[in-house]
Symmetry: C2
Subunit: 541 residues, 2 copies
Amino acid sequence: MNPSLRICLAQVDYLVGDIEGNTRALLQHAQEALAHGADLIVFPELTLTAYPPEDLLHRSSFHDCVNTAMDTLLEAELDIHMVIGYPERKPEGIYNSLAIIHKNKIIANYRKMHLPNYGVFDEKRYFIPGEIQQPFTIKQIKITPLVCEDLWYPEPIAQAKQQGAELILCCNASPFDLYKPHLREDIINQRIEETALPIAYVNWVGGQDELVFDGGSLCVNKKGKITHAAAYCEEALLMADFYDHDFKTTTKENDTSDEERLYKTLVLGVKDYVEKNNFPGVVLGLSGGIDSALTLAIACDALGADKVKAVLMPSCYTSHISVHDAKEQAETQGADYSIIPIELTRKAFEESLCDEFEGLDKDTTEENIQARIRGILLMAISNKTGKMLLTTGNKSETAVGYATLYGDMAGGFAPLKDVFKTMVYRLAHYRNSIKPVIPARVIERPPSAELAPDQKDQDSLPDYDTLDAILRQYIEEDQGMQSIIAQGFEADEVKRVISMVNRNEYKRRQAPPGVRISEKAFGRDRRYPITSGFGRHHQGK
Amino acid sequence: MNPSLRICLAQVDYLVGDIEGNTRALLQHAQEALAHGADLIVFPELTLTAYPPEDLLHRSSFHDCVNTAMDTLLEAELDIHMVIGYPERKPEGIYNSLAIIHKNKIIANYRKMHLPNYGVFDEKRYFIPGEIQQPFTIKQIKITPLVCEDLWYPEPIAQAKQQGAELILCCNASPFDLYKPHLREDIINQRIEETALPIAYVNWVGGQDELVFDGGSLCVNKKGKITHAAAYCEEALLMADFYDHDFKTTTKENDTSDEERLYKTLVLGVKDYVEKNNFPGVVLGLSGGIDSALTLAIACDALGADKVKAVLMPSCYTSHISVHDAKEQAETQGADYSIIPIELTRKAFEESLCDEFEGLDKDTTEENIQARIRGILLMAISNKTGKMLLTTGNKSETAVGYATLYGDMAGGFAPLKDVFKTMVYRLAHYRNSIKPVIPARVIERPPSAELAPDQKDQDSLPDYDTLDAILRQYIEEDQGMQSIIAQGFEADEVKRVISMVNRNEYKRRQAPPGVRISEKAFGRDRRYPITSGFGRHHQGK
């Protein structure tokens, strides 16, 4: 019988750019693994800098810090093999590398070969590609570590196999994607089908601006069975024994619903954005509508209700049930709330502008003023208390611009930015299924911005089932107008929705960051010009 | 004597994404060139789509439009050779290509070999690289066209020379850069030194969101002399005769000061953003300070004073001379203005928040409320009239966050976003040197936000000469703290400035686009995480 190798997959949550802090945490995690008898600890991609460090990689002083950190790791002389990701600066360029450190030596070094340059990824902006290297050996076991994207192509693992590798490690920075929940497992299985090599896959966990890395690290044996799996959305040191050329114990797969996994992702995204940026808590406007209700629940679950402050800002168009339901939510969850009516300030603006607007009809200008007064009040509380303002808008609104810039769009972070309205409802039901926190009426009432008498969202938008379906085709699937109409949607409705999406790029450009849950969130992954004539002539047809 | 070839360099201003409109304009320009006896018309990079089309390139319907446009060009059967840039979709990927069209045939096709993936450029996100092709021939002259970045490397032109090319065309999308005004000429001269091949260089002119392409198309003969040059910042069909293997007539170089070229760039950037997005005009807050004074002058020069509306919004902290000077500027330039005091609304907010803020000291919260009231008033006028709101902040303020989000940062476009305060002064002097429009007192007064009694910018910031010098080192030159201190700046001041820049990334992320004039504007070219621990520990040291 071959010797057994104990592997620790470090599914950790580090802070981008905090090389010193990450190095300390890494050494602690390695010592913990050592205490559990591990021979080898494997960290996620770019461990020292966390992912993605973006243009910090252009700074010379940043690489100096990486070098200092590498010295610190060597000086620690730990008797465990550590697989550590780091940016490796060389005269010819920077590699996205893995160092295998044992005691005071780097015993091997690997460089990422396939550099993703799509979606949110800009790796060709920073890195140059490496080439396959020979496996390293522990206890006579030959091991080849790969970096993330390298597993998505057949040839790196095939070459490793040729070189005699018996085990593949894969160090990743793979963000959550609602629409491709099983993509990682599928890729791993495909590589195992091709090579019959067992794979240990470690992923980051944690929020970084718009990205949430959801963990889900796992070991898969040469038959394609998952033998070890870490939970989603929490830190874990996953221990796995490798002997007789394979992982043995089989385990239950992570079996979670879309809603559960998504809700946990949103909670983690909010928690990490707030905590990593050192905010003492959050404030949000609570309207009595479903978006702010769900945002409140996420905030309370992420930070604890004592860190969450809700503000109700009724106007003459706000119904009594809105105020009642909003109070009920805050009280149910134990969050502090204030009520600040906006009539006084609204009248002051009306008076200030009466000469300027003399003879002109009322229009959305007056609605926007109300939303912006609320923005000022919330930002004043944010400025005075240090609490960050959460916005409550969802992806459907953000897509068509059904929101007021500097009004309800004002804030530091937008938890629901990439969540379609139809999914907001599903998440509300999911959250209530654990413990009811959102009153049934909030879920059942027709949605309204309450900025004009008897206003309903559906006065100016298609119903949300239709709207979300068109938006998914146009945004997520990059389908054109004709192709969407051909799917059976009403032509005028499709044209109107597409035109709204295109016209409102300028608003999205000034929106706060929010949790990305799709491959086409309105952030680094969707880069559209504001000034654009595409579709202009079609609109006229 | 060899036959003479008449070449037209089309320095044109097209609209990104408007493939139909661009195709019509292109045919008109070609017909105009034909009427002037041209054998060949050369357009800038990605002519049909204009540059940069960004993620529109991911849409299948976008490529369908390109194909339709190519058919239209062939059907026109013009008896002139046209060099046209277009995205060439193939099964293996998309090329950034040039088609040489004559009558109803594509007689040759070239593909960009070097794809820039730095700064604002993401070409590896969209394109795959091509390979060198044989020259095409007109009137026995062998010509190789290159695309932009291909001229920045020695080997494409060297290969063209080997293949017998006598003339190089270069089709570009090269944005303005204040700090590298002669870089293009230097590159061209280097290639000519290597190959003794004459080069005809054509560039876009016009604004596209943050970018301004400043034109400056030129022909350089085999001795490295500029023989033909188009003006900066205006459309031109530059005609050049090529005979006896070279360009002959020599011409004066474009000889303009930094300030003149920069001012023209800002004017063009504002003009194109407003006009291409179909705004009927602009509105801006006029404070009596130098930033809004210069912004007003740029707006009036870009659009005509009749399209510009200034709003004076004095508070109890606004000095009388501020109001006086602001009125004088609007009147001198013939722009409409209104005066809307903010005391009434300020008091309404004070009253609305008095319970919430009971027992708490006044701080910047109250200053921000004033700035945000002005933001609401300006946005109300913008919403009611359709005029776009210009912000007036400069790069120094934007860098250190000396601005109020949703307050003075509210607006659709920021003309001075990439202009340091010290350059704002130089531009004000330059503009006044043509015709005085900014009162001397506005230039000479110590700058103040006038949000608190006797406030001066220099109460909370280093003097602007020092601030801008540190910012240039940190932002434009990517220098670290130690390296800047080593240059002789005061250590605490450097630490404070760097800390402000890092802390305020979140504000910049929600700032409107503005004219980019450097390689490190706060837009697509500077991609920093908001959540970042880099430097956190240093700050404490």
